[in-house]
């Protein structure tokens, strides 16, 4: 206990006073809000210091952190903080994210108590996902860092993936503010690629809804960045061995082939290049279903010509040239299926 100055508050006191201040912030009038704002910031700093330590104090003792986390769970403060994130000042928002991420990473042996806690309170996750909504653009990026921290845990990623809210990401990645859209996309990608088995199961189970209804829209977006990013992610998803089943299904649908062939002709060279990496899978497939084969056969000569002149200046990229040569050879050798 310091000799001078105010005695340090215990975790329980801190949490209590922060909760009161937040409640005041939520309901109070003009003058009250100002005071509450100040209290919230002060308490957040104290809690942050309790978790991280400061430059001139010792790193926090385990029991203090344990006590603090326990108080946070019991008081339901994490949810309250996130719900009122837009009311907290700029520095305060950052502190909330720091506190949240620190408590989330807490581990006792093999257990992650905060993860278990959030599993019982999934509204925390959904509120965070709602942070990308247009209503409060100022909290989007802070929500994003917390969401991605959550996505590192399979249990939490599973809740998010299998929720209706997940499909709102298809809207978030296209919002007009570029930094928010990018942030949303990186969270979206993290959720779809981090836990391989979970993602594969999700994509298989929700194939139609995910690809046919939603992903198609991203690929056809008017926004160049969205189009390019989503095409790249599609390539990564399909070429990941864990998603083998999904890939086989995707490349047997003629609609998808048509889309890729159109994208090969896009104005942007980057999109052409990404499309090539998806297109090659359709051609390389040793068991092409009839509709796919038909499309390829119908365009056989055109495709050979097109590919021969496709990105000829990428001469150093050996792999690309090998693949291109392989595709041209494959297409040249295509033969219609014998009539059964």
């Amino acid at each position: 206990m310091p000799l001078f100055g105010k005695a340090q508050k215990t975790p329980a006191e801190l949490v209590k006073s922060l909760k009161e201040a937040i409640n005041a912030l939520e309901t109070g009038g003009d003058r009250k809000v100002e005071k509450a704002q100040e209290d919230v910031s002060k308490n957040l700093v104290s809690i942050k210091n309790m978790l991280y330590g400061t430059s001139d104090s010792e790193p926090p003792a385990d029991y203090v952190v344990a006590q603090l986390s326990q108080e946070l769970y019991n008081s339901n403060l994490l949810l309250l903080l996130i719900q009122n994130l837009h009311r907290i000042d700029f520095e305060g928002k950052k502190h909330v994210a720091l506190i949240f991420n620190n408590v989330l990473r807490r581990q006792i042996g093999t257990r992650s108590p905060t993860v278990e806690y959030i599993c019982t309170k999934p509204e925390i996750l959904f509120t965070l996902m709602g942070g990308y909504e247009d209503a409060h653009p100022e909290i989007a990026l802070n929500s994003g860092t917390m969401l991605r921290e959550c996505a590192r845990y399979e249990a939490l990623a599973k809740i998010m993936l299998h929720s209706e809210e997940f499909f709102k990401f298809f809207r978030y990645v296209e919002v007009s503010t570029f930094d928010i859209a990018s942030d949303a996309f990186s969270t979206f990608k993290e959720l779809l690629t981090r836990h391989k088995l979970l993602c594969a199961e999700f994509l298989e189970a929700n194939y139609d809804k995910f690809f046919t209804q939603h992903y198609q829209r991203l690929l056809n977006s008017d926004n160049y960045v969205t189009r390019r990013q989503s095409l790249k992610l599609l390539g990564e998803l399909l070429l990941d061995r864990h998603n083998f089943t999904v890939m086989t299904r995707y490349i047997s649908e003629p609609e998808n082939l048509k889309l890729m062939m159109n994208m090969l002709k896009e104005k942007s060279r980057n999109i052409q290049f990404e499309a090539f990496h998806v297109f090659k899978v359709f051609v390389a497939n040793p068991n092409k279903p009839k509709p796919i084969l038909d499309i390829l056969l119908r365009n056989q000569t055109k495709l050979v010509d097109f590919l021969t002149n496709f990105h000829t200046d990428r001469s150093e990229d050996e792999q690309f040239n090998d693949e291109k040569a392989y595709l041209i050879k494959q297409i040249k050798e295509l033969k219609p299926l014998p009539e059964a």
């Binding site: 581990q107 042996g109 391989k196 070429l239 061995r241 899978v281």
Partner: protein, 539 residues
């Protein structure tokens, strides 16, 4: 004039080779002298790259200060002057051997050169005392390959050297693997493996997989340069440097997590590494693990229905039973799991689950029975023992998958930090791994005023330097003893003398220990070469 007096050196060098072969680091490439003579000139020129170059064996060199030297040693070793003289006359290498001569180490490259030199003159043996050899401090000649400025040698493998380099455009620190056609040809499937490695590395991009930045070819020199990100060394070197050749649990846990991440990525890209072992796991300065060496890796076909493989050519001690027993086909992913299990066990215990006097015994032991975790392993950490056991299941179907490992107790838990982690071995005594490229740049830009002096030195100079140091140390000890004796209650001269003698003996012992330690550290990096002077003719 040719040099042929390096019996001691050669013996040491061969010892070094034997050691390397024992370490499983691609030994057995030492083909000695059965090589064409044409390459001799090139090799000798190449040899000039190294630390110190022996310029010539000078028969006419005078030793008028030898007695001073011997006196110093007498003080140190506590033997009579006559004996010392006799010893030095008989075995001129002796002093330097004991006193960790910084310039006696050869690599197989130089041995080849020596062999060639011997062949060159047929049966004309020409003994030169090591004291007659004149050494030359290596000149820091700036060398560039493409846009990369080359630095010192970081390490060496059967395929060639690895040097530090710097990108002259963005000043990034890099490592360059230099492959020579000639050496590649000596390795079974050498060229093929390198092509495959390049092909694979170009596709792979992950935090825990070493990244290939550039590939350069020099057709004239028949060399290939693989520019990679800078790593400070492999886990194997770390283990070799550590006492008991093992690391604490928590440290192994950190590396293991990264290894699993990297492996999951590789498997996602349908790449089976097939040679996971501590020697192929590199570390960066910030302790990020990088999986390297894709020489025997295999990439499954995009449409392969499963991960069936037919070939395995990894290191024997890390091979699973299905390969040891010579099965026709086996699950590729599970091969990597097994090797990862052996690696983890090795990191923590310094042991291998299976051993054998020779490769055949080893493979027989691996293939014979299910591994049983020793009791002490459960006492060390039961969760850890269970995980290793799960990864070392003889039946590939029972063996854990990466996803199961991710859910494992020990994997999830963070083991307590029990003490300092074992360090990354210093590079030539430099623990913080300063750039070795900068001295070259400095020498290039700011001239070589200091360098002009002492460029040439002889064994004699080296000895004298050592003797001076020894004398200084002895004097210090004597002073200490004297002080101790003075402070004693009854300062009798005989007691002081005895103490002095004792002190000297202890000093000798510790000196010896120190030198042997240093020698081990030296061995990794320093090497000398013997070079002919064109104007010297054999007598």
């Amino acid at each position: 004039m040719t040099v042929n007096s390096t019996h001691a050196m050669e013996a040491e060098a061969q010892f070094k080779i034997a050691q390397r072969a024992g370490g499983g680091g691609g030994g057995g490439q030492h083909l000695g002298s059965n090589k064409s003579l044409e390459v001799a000139g090139k090799e000798i020129a190449d040899a000039a790259d190294d630390e110190t170059t022996v310029l010539l064996a000078n028969k006419n060199f005078h030793f008028d200060t030898a007695s001073e030297l011997d006196e110093a040693f007498v003080e140190l070793n506590g033997i009579s002057a006559e004996e010392a003289m006799a010893a030095s006359a008989e075995e001129p290498d002796n002093h330097t051997d004991q006193q960790h001569n910084p310039v006696t180490w050869l690599n197989d490259y130089e041995i080849d050169t020596l062999d060639l030199a011997t062949l060159d003159i047929g049966n004309m043996f020409n003994r030169v005392d090591s004291q007659d050899i004149i050494y030359q401090q290596k000149k820091k000649n700036l060398k560039m390959v493409g846009k990369y400025v080359m630095g010192d040698v970081l390490g060496e493998g059967s395929y060639g050297k690895v040097k530090e380099a710097m990108d002259s455009e963005n000043l990034c620190r890099l490592a360059v693997k230099i492959l020579t056609k000639r050496k590649l040809r000596r390795i079974p499937n050498g060229e093929q493996n390198v092509t495959r490695e390049i092909h694979l590395l170009k596709q792979l991009k992950h935090q825990n997989v070493v990244s290939l930045i550039d590939v350069l070819y020099n057709n004239e020199k028949q060399k290939m340069y693989l520019v990679m990100e800078y790593c400070v060394g492999g886990l194997q070197e770390m283990l070799d440097y550590a006492p008991n050749k093992k690391m604490p649990l928590f440290q192994a846990h950190g590396y293991f997590k990264q290894l699993v991440d990297g492996l999951e990525y590789l498997h996602g890209c349908r790449v089976i590494h097939k040679d996971i072992k501590p020697g192929n796991l590199l570390l960066t300065l910030d302790q990020t693990l990088k999986i390297s060496d894709f020489g025997v890796a295999e990439q499954l076909d995009l449409f392969a229905p499963d991960d069936t493989c037919t070939t395995g050519q990894g290191s024997p001690a890390f091979q699973p039973p299905e390969i040891a027993n010579g099965h026709e086909t086996f699950s590729g992913y599970k091969v990597d799991i097994w090797s990862t299990g052996v690696t983890l066990y090795n990191l923590v215990t310094g042991l291998y689950p299976f051993e054998g006097d020779n490769i055949f015994r080893l493979l027989e032991n691996i293939g014979r029975s299910q591994w049983v975790a020793p009791d002490w392993l459960f006492e060390l950490d039961a969760n850890f023992a269970n995980l290793v056991l799960g990864m070392l299941q003889a039946d590939p179907n029972k063996r854990l998958s990466l996803q199961q490992i991710r859910k494992d107790h020990w994997f999830i838990s963070a083991p307590e930090v029990t003490g300092p982690p074992i360090p990354i071995p210093p590079l030539k005594g430099d623990e913080i791994r300063r750039s070795t490229v900068l001295p070259y740049l400095e020498a290039y830009h700011y001239g070589n005023e200091q360098e002009q002096e002492d460029v040439y030195f002889t064994e004699h100079d080296v000895n004298q330097q050592l003797a001076q140091r020894a004398a200084a140390a002895a004097a210090e000890i004597r002073a200490q003893q004297a002080a101790a004796a003075a402070s004693a209650l009854e300062p009798s001269t005989s007691a002081a003398a005895a103490a002095l003698a004792n002190g000297n003996r202890e000093e000798t012992a510790s000196k010896k220990k120190g030198s042997s330690l240093k020698r081990r550290a030296k061995k990794l990096t320093s090497c000398i070469s013997v070079r002919k002077l064109s104007h010297c003719r054999t007598s």
